[in-house]
């Protein structure tokens, strides 16, 4: 070791040579992934990989997850782990169906938010006021949310729907398409030109047949960013998740912000529930319809490194792989292996460039395995492809996890006046 090396190791580490800004790096990876998928789509002859229909599916499937993930973001940025998202979502579905049935979709949306927020309130009381372990409280809220929704639905819905597990039909939101953009993109997509049609497919999928609730969800991503990172309110809220004692010492009412954050979190999860009720094609309240989407939302948020853009990516990935496997099952998931091979080769190349030989080796081996699976099988058993999104989440977390940076005081108990 020479002195030149050690001189860098001062207690005040110098700013690292300014690499690409975070958002640019993310964007770059998005582009790389897109190119990989696009190539795979042509090489394997499975255009569903980038069709606008798949993207629309991804949107529809991803929206509830996105909203749950946003809910997780708000709570965890204030330092409260919210594994109770699932329960809050269930409450949201019940509330949305109950009010939606009587007063229409807008009322349903509001009620879903309110019911979710009530779940959030219980979580806040338990974790903030009583200092209960956040996960424990979350598990209890999931039990409670399911129980309350079932109970209420037996009492309220059964007389009307003749079924204790189901609400009567609920009016839905209408959908809108951005015209003439949508048609134009559709034409582009139909030309089946390499790259261009893929982009058109993806964009087309994003702008056609969008319901107000979906637009709201889209909108909540930048809004969450702006509020949390660009407003005094958000700064205070985040400070409660990073160092609540410091925040308190600067006059921030930590309890209040934590309460607010968890209540907003619950409301967002509730809206996520409403997306399962009020978006076109949905069926009203059904027992068990959230089907662990709250947990998936939490995973998407962690996946997204506790950031709005990141969790959007997580929800999109989940929605995409789920849409793909639901729409065209074995074949497209199979083709996805081809895309994953390409992506892993790129990752390996990057690692080689960074001189982390081990990581590069692992990536290459993984790429080889992926390719072998692609080569030696024709279609995967549906029992296994049905859970592609979960597998993808697990694998990506395994690859990316060590770069994640949760809020420093996330999950810690905070009591005023005790340090």
């Amino acid at each position: 070791m020479t002195t030149t090396v050690t001189s860098e190791s001062t207690k005040v580490p110098p700013q690292p040579t300014r690499r690409m800004p975070g958002w640019a790096r993310v964007l770059l990876w998005v582009v790389v992934a897109f190119v990989a998928v696009s190539i795979a789509s042509y090489q394997t002859g499975v255009p569903q990989l980038t069709s606008s229909g798949t993207i629309q599916s991804a949107v529809r499937l991803g929206i509830p997850i996105l909203l749950a993930a946003l809910g997780g973001l708000w709570a965890e940025r204030a330092g409260i782990i919210n594994i109770g998202l699932e329960g809050m979502m269930i409450l949201g579905t019940w509330g949305g169906a109950w009010a939606g049935y009587q007063w229409g979709p807008v009322a349903g949306l509001v009620a879903a938010a309110v019911f979710g927020a009530l779940g959030g309130l219980v979580h806040a009381i338990a974790t903030v006021t009583f200092g209960v372990n956040h996960i424990v409280s979350g598990v209890a809220i999931n039990l409670l949310g399911a129980g309350i929704a079932k109970y209420l639905s037996t009492l309220v819905f059964e007389p009307i729907s003749r079924n204790p597990r189901e609400s009567p039909a609920v009016p839905k939101f209408d959908t809108y398409s951005a015209q003439p953009l949508g048609t134009w993109l559709q034409e582009l997509e139909d030309m089946q030109r390499v790259g261009l049609s893929d982009v058109a497919g993806i964009l087309g999928g994003l702008v056609t047949e969008v319901s107000p609730l979906t637009m709201l969800a889209y909108l909540l991503v930048p809004v969450s960013y702006l509020v949390l990172w660009r407003s005094p309110f958000g700064l205070r809220l985040r400070s409660c998740g990073e160092n609540p004692v410091a925040a308190e010492s600067l006059g921030v009412n930590v309890y209040r912000y934590k309460y607010l954050a968890v209540i907003i979190s619950g409301a967002l999860a509730g809206i996520g529930g409403a997306a399962l009720i009020l978006n076109p094609g949905q069926a009203g309240y059904l027992e068990g319809q959230t089907n662990n989407r709250g947990y998936i939302g939490l995973a998407a948020m962690i996946f997204g490194n506790w950031r709005p853009g990141g969790l959007l990516g997580g929800a999109a990935l989940f929605g995409y792989s789920d849409g793909l496997q639901l729409r065209s099952g074995g074949t497209s998931v199979h083709a996805l292996f081809y895309g994953a091979t390409l992506l892993l080769v790129v990752v390996a190349a990057v690692q080689v460039w960074r001189r982390s030989w081990f990581a590069a080796g692992v990536s290459l081996v993984a790429a080889a395995v992926m390719y072998a699976v692609y080569w030696y099988t024709d279609e995967l058993p549906t029992e296994l492809t049905a859970y592609t999104p979960h597998l993808v989440t697990l694998v990506v977390l395994g690859v990316a996890s060590q770069r994640l940076r949760p809020p420093a005081a996330n999950g810690l108990q905070y009591r005023r006046g005790v340090d």
Binding site: I83, V122, A126, F130, G131, V132, N133, I135, V136, S137, V139, A140, I141, N142, L143, L144, G145, A146, G147, I148, K150, Y151, T154, L155, P164, N292, Y295, I296, L298, A299, I302, P381, E383, L384, A386, Y387, H390, L391, T393, L394, L397, G398, V399, S401, Q402, L404
Partner: protein, 363 residues
């Protein structure tokens, strides 16, 4: 803080509180809470309910111990759900495929269940230790993946019986006889396995070096590290043990009653296990009571339809019990801590009337 007051009071308070709350819910919805409760209690005496309570409590006990081992070191093994189902499935497949002498066969099945559970949980452990993936998320994903894997395994190695898909039945040599109690039903022989696991858990946690290291890692990972506890090894081993115990939790039902794993195998034990471990404060005896309570609520709720009360009230009851138990423990803990400090102050304050900072006193 080892006295009984701290142990029992919160749980009792919480149960009372939850019962009161649910009574209110029942009253509002027009049912009579006292009748409801009496009906539930009466149900225990009917038919085989009492034995079923004990049988299911045995399985609950195992999943709860699995959860408690994780809790001891602040690991949240949410994947118990997947581990016990996958363990049961693989064990049943192997049990149906081999033929061994009586006894040995059942032992093999149990071992296979344990190994399967441990390996499945081991995926989460490896991800956590080497990749820093939160076990909460990875086990949630693994739970879902286990459903697909089970479906695949049953479809591949199982057989069709009418409209049910299940594994090949385990021959008599691999079955574990129950303890027949006449008209009250048959208690699973493997309830004894739960007892054994409970004793093992108590000894492990209280009396062994491993138990010390486990608890130390949970109480303060940093102190444990400085004290020479290898946190990676502990996470690995704790997850593996937890998974192994979870992996056998489904076997009492299979070896003593069903002899096959079908796609209708019950779900939800995993989350019950987490709740019961909380209820029992990770204590082997507390968990036993928790398991019995949970099982009682489950089984006796079956009668509520008879008196026109939605049986979902029991789920609400279970949720509030968990929540209020943890709140009650926290409140009692705070009070006890203050009391302890007062005791210290009093014990040492005899020399100086206004002791500020006991360490600052001079002899």
């Amino acid at each position: 803080m080892n006295n009984w007051r701290v142990r029992l009071l919160p749980a009792a308070l919480a149960i009372v509180f939850s019962v009161v709350l649910c009574s209110a819910v029942l009253l509002i919805s027009g049912a009579n809470p006292i009748d409801t409760l009496l009906e539930m209690i009466a149900q225990v005496g009917r038919g085989m309910t009492a034995v079923n309570i004990v049988n299911t409590a045995g399985a609950y006990y195992l999943v709860a111990i699995a959860a408690a081992i994780g809790f001891q070191m602040n690991l949240l093994n949410i994947g118990i759900e997947g581990q016990y189902r996958l363990g049961a499935c693989v064990a049943a497949i192997v049990g149906g495929a081999v033929s061994l002498p009586f006894g040995l066969h059942a032992v093999l099945v149990v071992v296979i269940g344990a190994v399967t559970g441990a390996l499945w949980c081991g995926i989460a452990a490896v991800l956590k230790v080497y990749r820093g993936v939160s076990e909460v998320i990875s086990t949630i994903m693994l739970n879902t993946l286990s459903i697909g894997l089970i479906a695949f395994l049953v479809a591949t190695f199982g057989e069709m019986r009418g409209n049910t898909q299940g594994t090949v039945p385990i021959p008599a040599s691999g079955q574990v006889p129950g303890i027949p109690l006449g008209g009250a039903g048959t208690m699973f022989g493997l309830v004894l396995l739960s007892v054994a696991v409970g004793v093992g858990y108590a000894v492990l946690v209280d009396r062994t070096r491993y138990g010390f290291q486990l608890r130390a890692s949970g109480l303060s990972p940093t102190a444990a590290l400085a004290g020479g506890v290898d946190s990676k090894k502990m996470i690995m081993s704790a997850m593996l043990i937890s998974g192994a115990i979870a992996g056998v939790a489904g076997l009492p039902e299979i070896l003593s009653r069903d002899h096959t794993f079908t796609i209708n195998f019950p779900t939800g034990y995993g989350f019950a296990g987490l709740a019961i471990a909380l209820l029992g404060r990770n204590h082997p005896i507390g968990i036993a009571f928790g398991a019995l309570l949970w099982s009682f609520l489950d089984k006796s709720s079956l009668t509520l339809d008879n008196i026109g009360v939605p049986k979902e009230i029991v789920t609400i009851l279970q949720g509030t019990i968990v929540l209020s138990v943890v709140v009650a423990y926290e409140l009692v803990r705070r009070r006890e801590l203050a009391a302890e400090q007062r005791r210290v102050g009093r014990a040492l304050g005899t020399e100086a009337p206004a002791p500020a900072g006991t360490g600052g006193e001079r002899a």
